[in-house]
Symmetry: C2
Subunit: 348 residues, 2 copies
């Protein structure tokens, strides 16, 4: 097992450290009175062992200033236990929550997250190139679509790719989404049940699959019910975009619709604030509204927003399953859909 | 340079890939008509070169399905170019923003983030153990204090540690904070200037240095101005905690204070909503309020909150400087403070 510490014998120039005199797992095993294999397993959170034994090993390791070298080990196992997560919208609370839950679940499998913020979709190519240098076990991409060219590159490197909250036509990429089309249909039905007959949809950019699918389901169901004149606005998934869209809507329509389906809670908060504070409409008496994602803000008393919630725990579990057992991916459909649930509060 | 691809010759069992027949940087250099050193530099975002040359190399690399092996390279350079980030409150928009900005700045130095969510402060020890297995260039810890024992462990491994938004007494740990004591004093002065004379402070847990320092500065300045009876409440940095604290305050005081300093915007939003919707007070006419961090919500029309903003860009730049040149840390003070600025909106 001495291959676990090849660089431990090198001086780490420019820093004060004692790597050059570092102890090995053999020393730790001796001190703890366990086998060397037990020492290895003690450092793997997904290995089952009694808390007492693990504590004994970790205490011995600490006394001897020993830590296994995951990097050297990865050269043997060809796995770094690193999963790359590429996020475009980390400031959206929905994705901050997803990152938190991904971290918890991946850690339970002994996997760590190499995190990449995608400031510009045009940089995805460059980031994928960087990701592939780290011998990652998989790539999870949130809120970004992937061209089939980039999907091919990952496939060629044997790295499974899972999209979260976006889907694509590439057969080599797995996607985990909620059933946005059905949620759009459910929204139309709910508004109808409440007696509304004049509608608008305010979404993110239409090329974004989540927004597109929510709109598609909403308009299709309205059409089935005989409504074909719903107004549609597209912009960013952001508060300010919601305000702006509502101003456009009032400018275009003169009077507002009876009910608005917003493709995200942030958009809905902007629409609500513009409607209430700039135009003095009452919600839901003058205009009813429904948002999407049930972020914390949706439950704040200032908004108390009716919103769709995605089953995030189940979705994250599915993503981890796809990353952990990529060989199964070929025999499954490449888009896994989860149902959304409407949380009714005071806005509709 | 063949040492860069030692595992490229191994089959990656259980996955479809072509690592076993993978091309090397020599092949890429030939195809692109550049030197091998240029190929290396093209994959390092911090290396200066013309966009045309970089594009030529990356296109050639892609055609040959080549990526440098950062893991194998790290065995030679003893640097993985990985910086660990350990976060306790990733759902707080302030930290989601910090992670985003850290990612941008570290990437400009060619560094990637290994992300750890700390679900429980008691797990910090275990996470530090995991971090050290990855040969990281540094550890950034946000919203968590570090015991000197854990600081010693990192020091022994030669890994620089920087705390963001917390400080500690350990001489081996650098901390980057805003001047929370001064902000507390500024808040007292601002409230006084506005004519308020009856105060409360609603903070996070008092053992958290940010909350403690904001309170300390606020109360000290009030005392200098002859006010010694300000009410103090402590709880979590969360919306619901703010609501709860306001209910306690009304139960204790009967009538509310004239002005409340909240240690975070999320607390302040909870206080505002409880005051307005549960007790029907007007803000700021009945009670003035000031929050902290200027998160996006503070500028939403429903809150329009007066709040302190931290100079995040400068703070993140300082953190990166401390991580990139850790040998300088010993000759600097181990706490770097940045001034906060009050953003005045409608709540005070």
């Amino acid at each position: 097992m001495s291959t676990q510490e090849p660089a431990g014998k090198q001086a780490n120039s420019g820093r004060t450290n004692n790597r050059s005199t570092r102890n090995t797992s053999i020393d730790v095993a001796k001190l703890a009175g366990v086998s060397q294999a037990t020492v290895s397993r003690a450092f793997n959170p997904s290995s089952k062992m009694s808390p007492e034994t693990r504590r004994k090993v970790l205490d011995a390791a600490e006394a001897l200033k020993y830590a296994p070298d995951a990097i050297a080990r990865s050269l043997i196992s060809n796995s770094t236990n690193i999963v790359a997560v590429i996020m475009q919208n980390p400031m959206n609370p929905f994705y901050a929550k997803a990152l938190t839950k991904l971290s918890i679940q991946l850690r339970s499998f002994g996997k760590q997250i190499l995190y990449f913020y995608l400031d510009d979709p045009d940089n995805l190519h460059e980031i994928i190139n960087q990701v592939l240098q780290y011998r990652v076990d998989g790539v999870i991409i949130t809120s970004v679509s992937l061209t089939s060219n980039l999907a091919d590159i990952c496939f060629d490197f044997g790295v499974p790719v899972v999209l979260f909250n976006r889907h694509t036509n590439s057969p080599q990429v797995q996607a985990v989404c909620c059933d946005n089309i059905q949620a759009g249909r459910d929204c139309a039905d709910y508004f109808f049940m409440k007696g509304y007959r004049k509608f608008a949809f305010i979404g993110g950019y239409d090329k974004v699959s989540t927004s597109h699918d929510r709109k598609t389901g909403f308009l299709a169901r309205l059409k089935e019910r005989g409504i074909q004149n719903a107004k549609v606005y597209h912009s960013e998934f952001a508060y300010e975009a919601g305000q702006e869209a509502f101003r456009h809507l009032i400018k275009d329509m003169g009077t507002p619709p009876e009910a608005i389906f917003c493709a995200s809670d942030l958009i809905c908060a902007g629409v609500m604030d513009s409607a209430r504070f700039e135009y003095h409409y009452r919600i839901p008496e003058d205009i009813a509204m429904i948002g999407f994602d049930d972020i914390q803000l949706a439950s704040y008393a200032s908004y108390n927003m009716t919103s769709f919630v995605q089953p995030m725990d189940e979705m994250i579990a599915k993503i981890c399953e796809l990353i952990m057992a990529p060989e199964k991916n070929n025999i499954q459909p490449n888009l896994t859909l989860f149902p959304c649930t409407l949380i009714t509060r005071s806005t509709a």
